[in-house]
C-alpha cells in the first residue's frame, strides 16, 4: 500500500474528505442504476403473473357456470 496505515489512507493528507465523498456518491448512484431496474422488473413480472391468474380464474368460473347450466 502507498499509505503507511489505514488512518493515513482515510485522511489522504487532508484530501480524504474530497476523495471519499466522490467515491461514496459515485458508488451509491451506480448501485441505484442496477437496483432500480431490478425492482421494477420484479414488479412487472408480478403484474404479469397476476394477470395470468386472473384470466385463469375467469376461465374456471365460466367453465363452472356452463357446467351448472348443463346439469340443469
Amino acid at each position: 500500500m502507498y499509505f503507511e496505515n489505514i488512518a493515513a489512507l482515510i485522511n489522504m493528507d487532508g484530501h480524504g474528505v474530497y476523495v471519499w465523498t466522490s467515491v461514496a456518491v459515485t458508488l451509491a448512484v451506480m448501485l441505484w442504476l442496477v437496483i432500480a431496474p431490478l425492482i421494477s422488473q420484479g414488479r412487472l413480472l408480478k403484474e404479469v403473473s397476476r394477470d395470468i391468474q386472473r384470466q385463469q380464474d375467469r376461465e374456471l368460473a365460466a367453465q363452472k357456470a356452463s357446467n351448472h347450466e348443463e346439469s340443469n
Binding site: 500500500m1 474530497y18 476523495v19 451506480m30 442504476l33 431490478l38 413480472l45 404479469v48 394477470d51
Partner: protein
C-alpha cells in the same frame, strides 16, 4: 458498370446468412432470453474489475507531485466522463438504427441508455466539482469543458423527457432519436473544448494517438477502471433494456409463457 450491377444484385443474397444475427438481435424475445444468460458473468466481471481498479487507484498508486492525493478522484472522474460520452454515442446510434431499420429493440436500447448516461454525466460533473475545490479553489467554474458537459446532461434529460411527451410510443421514440442524433454535435465540442478554449480544466490525460501523460503506476489503475466502467455500463444497459422489453411486451404470449414457467402455474 456491369461488375457493379452484378455485385449489387448478388451481394445481399450472398451476405444474408451473415446478417441473421443482426435480425435475431432485433427480436426482443431473443435478446431478453439471451441477455439473461450473459448477465451473471458480466456482473461478476464488472464487480471484480471495478474493485481491483478502485483499490489499486485509491490505496496503491503513488500520489501526484502537484495535486497530492486529491488527484485520486481521477479514477472515477475520467471513466465516468468517458462513459458519459460513449454512452451518448450508443444512445444516438441505437436511435439511428431504430429510425432506419425500424428495429423495435434499438429504440428500447436508446430509451434505456438515457438515464444511465445522465447518471454518469452527473457523476463526472459531481466528482469534477469536488476535485475542483482543493485544486482550483472553486467547486464550479463556467469553463468550456464543464459547460459542455452540463449541456450533455441536459441532452440526456431531453431524451428522457421526450419519451413521456407523446401518447404514442412510436412518436416518442422517433422524436427522442432525432434529438439524440442532433445532440451528437456536442461530443466533439466536449472533446476539443480543452484545446479550443483557454480553460481551467487540465488537458486530456489519455489520447488514442499518443502515450498517456501520466506515469505507468498511475495510468494502469485508470485503465482498469475504464474497462470496469465499460463492463458496468453493459450490465446497466442490459438491465434497463430488459426492463423496457418487459414493459412493452407484457401482453405477449412469450412473456406470459416465461412467467408461467417461472412460477410453475
Amino acid at each position: 458498370m456491369n461488375w457493379l450491377s452484378n455485385k449489387l444484385s448478388s451481394g445481399p443474397s450472398k451476405e444474408s446468412p451473415n446478417w441473421q444475427w443482426f435480425y435475431r438481435l432485433g427480436s426482443p424475445r431473443w435478446f431478453y432470453l439471451r441477455s439473461g444468460q450473459w448477465l451473471p458473468w458480466l456482473s461478476l466481471a464488472a464487480l471484480l474489475v471495478l474493485a481491483t481498479g478502485l483499490v489499486w487507484g485509491l490505496a496503491f498508486a503513488p500520489e501526484d507531485a502537484k495535486q497530492g492525493n486529491s488527484f485520486r478522484i481521477i479514477y472515477i472522474h475520467v471513466p465516468a466522463a468517458f462513459l458519459a460520452q460513449s454512452g451518448y454515442f450508443i444512445m444516438a446510434i441505437a436511435g439511428a438504427i431504430g429510425l432506419i431499420w425500424k428495429m423495435k429493440i434499438s429504440f428500447m436500447v436508446m430509451k434505456a441508455a438515457a438515464p444511465i448516461g445522465a447518471v454518469l454525466t452527473f457523476v463526472a460533473l459531481f466528482t469534477g466539482a469536488v476535485w475542483g475545490k482543493p485544486t482550483w479553489g472553486a467547486y464550479w467554474v463556467w469553463d468550456a469543458r464543464i459547460t459542455s458537459m452540463l449541456i450533455l446532461l441536459f441532452l440526456y434529460a431531453g431524451v428522457m423527457a421526450l419519451q413521456y411527451a407523446y401518447h404514442s410510443v412510436d412518436a416518442a421514440s422517433k422524436a427522442s432519436a432525432i434529438l439524440a442524433l442532433v445532440g451528437t454535435v456536442n461530443i466533439p465540442i466536449i472533446n476539443k473544448s480543452v484545446d479550443w478554449w483557454y480553460t481551467l480544466h487540465q488537458p486530456a490525460t489519455i489520447k488514442l494517438t499518443s502515450a498517456p501523460s501520466m506515469h505507468m503506476d498511475m495510468f494502469m489503475p485508470l485503465l482498469v477502471m475504464i474497462v470496469g466502467f465499460y463492463l458496468f455500463y453493459a450490465v446497466a444497459l442490459i438491465l434497463h433494456t430488459r426492463n423496457e422489453i418487459l414493459r412493452r411486451e407484457r401482453k405477449t404470449s412469450w412473456v406470459r409463457e416465461l412467467v408461467t414457467a417461472k412460477a410453475g402455474l
